[in-house]
C-alpha cells in the first residue's frame, strides 16, 4: 500500500519515526508498503517510489528534500496525484470547523482512500458524514488516537466486545486536568499553583481553557457517543463544567472521605463533563497525566482501561490503526 502523511508536526514526525523503526513488522504484513507523500500547510513532498524516511526525519523543513518538494501546493493535490491507498491525517485540531483536516478526510474518503487519524476536530464536527462517506466508498476510517491517546479503546470495543451492548462509558479523558487535580490532592496546592506548574512542565498550554474548562474532554465525549453509541451528537449537546472552581478545601474534604476529585466525561443517556467525586478504590481513580476509561456493557459488565492519554504515546494508536488497515485490506487483496 502507498501511504501519505498529512501534517508534519509532532505526531506526523513521531508516526514516520515509528514506521521507520517498525519497518520489519510492517513489511511482514505488506511488503509493498511505502510512504509516498508528506504534506504540511506550506506544500508537499511526493515521490512515487517512496520517500527516504531516514532523510525525511533529518530535515527541518520539507523544502530541504529538494526535487520532490512542491511549494505552495495543497494536500488535496497530493491525495489526487499520489494515488495513495491510505492517508494518515495529523494536522492540528480545530474544533470550531474541523479544518483543515475535515476537507482532507472528505476528499480522501470520497476517493476511496483509507483514513487513519488522531485528529479530533473533524470527528467532533462531522463524524456521521465521515463514517457514511467511508462506508459508501468501501474504505476504512480509523481514529483510535482521538480519544484517550494510546489506550486501545475503539479497537477493544470493535474486536473484543463485539457481542456486547455498551451501556455507559465514563472516564478521565484529559491528562492535563488529571495532573492538576492530582497535584492538588497530593501536594495540597491551590488550583492556580498546580496549573502554573503544569504550564511550566509543558503539560498545560499557555491558554489552558481548552483543557481546564472541559472542552477537550467534551470533544472526546462527542466522539465516544457517536462512534460507540451510534448517536449523532455535537459539542453543544455536552453539559460541560471545568475545574477552575475546584478549591483546595474541596479536594481536602473529599480526601478526608476517601474520594478524589476528577474531571469525568460520561456518555450515558446524557452527555456530560464535570468534576466528580471518585472513590479512592475505584479503578477510575488514577493520578498524574494518566487517562482511564470505564466501560459498562450488558455481558462483560465492567471493563476499565488505563494508560497514557496524550503526547508521544498516541503514535501507538495511529500505528495500530495503520496495521489494522494493512492486515484487513491486505487479506482482501
Amino acid at each position: 500500500m502507498k501511504a501519505i502523511v498529512v501534517g508534519f508536526g509532532f505526531i506526523g514526525k513521531d508516526f514516520v519515526r515509528a514506521v521507520l523503526e517498525k519497518s520489519d513488522l510492517i513489511r511482514k504484513i505488506d511488503r509493498q508498503f511505502k510512504v509516498v507523500g508528506v504534506s504540511n500547510s506550506k506544500g508537499y513532498l511526493h515521490k512515487e517510489n517512496g520517500l527516504d524516511l531516514d532523510r525525511l526525519l533529518g530535515i527541518k523543513e520539507l523544502l530541504a528534500y529538494r526535487k520532490s518538494y512542491y511549494a505552495g501546493e495543497s494536500t488535496v493535490d497530493l491525495i489526487e496525484k499520489s494515488g495513495a491507498d491510505i492517508m494518515v491525517e495529523a494536522t492540528p485540531t480545530r474544533i470550531e470547523d474541523g479544518e483543515p483536516g475535515l476537507t482532507f478526510m472528505k476528499h480522501a474518503l470520497g476517493r476511496g482512500v483509507h483514513v487513519v487519524t488522531p485528529n479530533k476536530g473533524p470527528l467532533v464536527v462531522a463524524f456521521k458524514e465521515l463514517e457514511e462517506l467511508a462506508e459508501k466508498n468501501c474504505c476504512e476510517f480509523l481514529y483510535e488516537g482521538t480519544v484517550a491517546g494510546a489506550i486501545p479503546l475503539f479497537s477493544l470495543i470493535r474486536e473484543c466486545l463485539q457481542g456486547d451492548k455498551v451501556l455507559k462509558i465514563s472516564g478521565i479523558l484529559n491528562g492535563t486536568t488529571n495532573y492538576i487535580l492530582s497535584k492538588m490532592y497530593f501536594e495540597e496546592t491551590s488550583f492556580e499553583l498546580a496549573l502554573k506548574e503544569a504550564q511550566e512542565k509543558g503539560i498545560a498550554e499557555r491558554d489552558p481553557s481548552y483543557d481546564v474548562d472541559g472542552i477537550d474532554a467534551a470533544c472526546k465525549v462527542v466522539i465516544l457517543a457517536n462512534a460507540v453509541m451510534r448517536r449523532d451528537a455535537k459539542l453543544k449537546d455536552v453539559e460541560k463544567i471545568g475545574i477552575r472552581s475546584i478549591t483546595q478545601d474541596a479536594v481536602s474534604l473529599a480526601k478526608k472521605s476517601n474520594f478524589a476529585v476528577k474531571l469525568i466525561g460520561t456518555v450515558d443517556r446524557t452527555l456530560e463533563v464535570a468534576p466528580k467525586l471518585v472513590p479512592l478504590n475505584h479503578p477510575l481513580c488514577v493520578h498524574g497525566t494518566l487517562n482511564a476509561v470505564h466501560i459498562e456493557t450488558d455481558l462483560a459488565k465492567e471493563v476499565t482501561l488505563v494508560g497514557c492519554g496524550a503526547g508521544k504515546e498516541t503514535v501507538s494508536a495511529v500505528l495500530n490503526d495503520l496495521l489494522t488497515v494493512l492486515r484487513k485490506r491486505g487479506k482482501a487483496a
Binding site: S170, L253, S257, F259, V261, L277, V278
Partner: protein, 156 residues
C-alpha cells in the same frame, strides 16, 4: 417490596412449616430465614424472616392468614434500601436554605463546612437516602446549586 418479619413459634415439631405456608400462598418469596431454636423464651422460638412480597396487600393477607393459624407475629417492617451519598458544594451559598432542603426519607449523616460565608465556601454533605429517591435528591441539590450559583460535585 422487602419486609422484615419476626414470628414467635411454639417449640413443637412442625410449627415452622405450618407458619410459612401463608407466605408462599400469598406470593411471598423468602430471602432469608433464621430459626433460633437455642433461644426459646417462655416456650416460644423466635424466627426472623426477610420476605419479598409483590405489595403491602400481600403482606397484610399473609399476616391475617398466620394469625388465623395462631402464629404470633412480633415484628413486621418494610425494609427500605438506602444509598449513601457524598456531595460537595463550592460557592457562596445560603447554608440555612441548604439545611432546610428536605427530601422525604433522607437523613443527613455528615455535614462539614469550610470557609463559610466566603465566595469559595465549601460544604461536604453525607446523606442516607432511600435508593429509589436518589435521583430526586440529586435533582433537588442541582436546583439548589443552580439557584445559588454554586458548583455541585456528586460522586460517580
Amino acid at each position: 417490596m422487602r419486609f422484615d418479619l419476626t414470628l414467635a413459634l411454639a417449640d413443637r415439631p412442625g410449627q415452622l412449616l405450618r407458619a410459612l405456608e401463608p407466605i408462599a400462598k400469598n406470593g411471598g418469596n423468602i430471602v432469608s430465614i433464621i430459626h433460633e431454636r437455642e433461644k426459646p423464651a417462655e416456650g416460644y422460638v423466635p424466627v426472623s424472616l426477610v420476605v419479598d412480597f409483590p405489595s403491602k396487600w400481600n403482606l397484610k393477607k399473609t399476616i391475617m392468614d398466620m394469625k388465623g393459624l395462631g402464629v404470633s407475629i412480633t415484628k413486621s417492617e418494610e425494609i427500605i434500601e438506602t444509598t449513601r451519598l457524598t456531595l460537595i458544594l463550592i460557592g457562596s451559598m445560603d447554608l440555612k436554605r441548604l439545611v432546610e432542603t428536605r427530601v422525604e426519607g433522607v437523613k443527613v449523616v455528615g455535614f462539614e463546612v469550610s470557609a463559610p460565608g466566603s465566595k469559595d465556601a465549601c460544604v461536604k454533605i453525607d446523606l442516607e437516602a432511600p435508593t429509589e429517591n436518589v435521583d430526586k435528591v440529586l435533582d433537588e441539590l442541582r436546583a439548589f446549586s443552580k439557584d445559588e450559583n454554586a458548583l455541585l460535585i456528586s460522586s460517580i
